[in-house]
Amino acid sequence: MNLEQELAQWRGDWKISTPKEDQERWRVLEKKVKSQSIKMRLNLALELMSSVSFLIISLYVSWHNPTPQKIVLAVAVWVFTFLLQGFSIWNQRGLWGPVSQDNRVFLALSLQRCQAVLRAIKFCLSFICVQLVFVVMWLSWDLLSHPETLAESIGDHLRAFALGVFLSLGFLLFFIWLQKKQQREIAALGELQRSLDAE
């Protein structure tokens, strides 16, 4: 059998029709994809709404009860939110091109995306530390600025502090796990890139 015949035979085997049930499966997949796409948009909208809600609530609270503590808290919420969003936009610049580039460009872009996630993790870890320091300082300030109600409010403040530490620890563990996962992905991606380049 010559090379052309061999290729023709493989081509014939490769294209042997898939079962009829496949048609139905494609329809189901098509529906799944559309609902998944809607879910992704909803998630994005929810994220945006939660950020905006935080901003509005902080503004509302400081507007109706304009103590120095509430004003500082509102300013901090705005600064932290814009800092986070600003970093996110800067970090992802040029990385969300179309997914239809050729393999080589796609792999290079994927590596850059993984590295951007690693940068984001490092930023978030520092961000959590800054936020925790701010929370501790703000709670202490708020507590000490009302010495007359110190005994009554110390419990609430301690609970808020514990919640802050608990959430920070949760995020810390999550980011450490994500960092390891991302490093494994970068290693696998690099290996794949090298194996493709070797040919």
Binding site: E6, L7, L29, V33, L189, L192
Partner: protein, 171 residues
């Protein structure tokens, strides 16, 4: 493109290229449940990319680029999450290739054997042979993979030899 037009185009692409996408997915993944996930991933990527299609390459090139990009994504994510080798088939998958008591159709078995052998090839050779079997000329394969036509030709020669050996190994 408006939404209705987009949905119509998407549906047409699935009818025209659905079986080809299925075959591409099967060249990257042998386990049926994960193959299904990969197909879904390809379709989602296609759905997201379609509004950006400006006709700067053929529809087929556009589609195969997306499919192979998602296939590569699948390969490195699997390696990263499980630390597994990409090539070897599991014992279970190989078992499926033997004639079963229910006697699967002869043609279907031949196809399964060929796909299993293709999955044993290194990714770079696997991509070239899969695209060749989809009737893409070397110039178009080069566009999909982002390599030169000469490189495609060299890979194809290696892929054929490797595939012959892999098929012999599955006898």
């Amino acid at each position: 493109l408006n939404r209705t037009q987009l949905e119509a185009d998407y549906h047409r692409l699935l009818i025209d290229y659905g079986p080809a996408l299925s075959r591409i997915a099967s060249s990257y993944e042998g386990v049926p449940s994960r193959q299904e996930e990969l197909r879904q991933d390809i379709l989602l990527a296609l759905w997201k990319a379609l509004p950006q299609f400006r006709g700067d390459c053929s529809e087929r090139t556009f589609l195969f680029r997306i499919a192979h990009n998602r296939g590569l994504h699948h390969v490195w994510r699997r390696k990263a999450s499980a630390g597994i080798q990409e090539e070897p088939e599991t014992a279970h998958e190989l078992e499926d290739l033997r004639p079963t008591p229910e006697a699967k159709a002869y043609e279907s078995q031949r196809r399964e054997r060929l796909v299993a052998a293709i999955r044993r090839l290194p990714v770079s050779l696997r991509q070239v042979i899969a695209l060749t079997l989809e009737d893409l000329p070397q110039s178009e394969i080069a566009l999909v993979l982002g390599i030169s036509e000469n490189n495609v030709a060299v890979r194809l020669v290696r892929a054929r030899k490797a595939l012959q050996e892999a098929l012999r190994g599955l006898q």
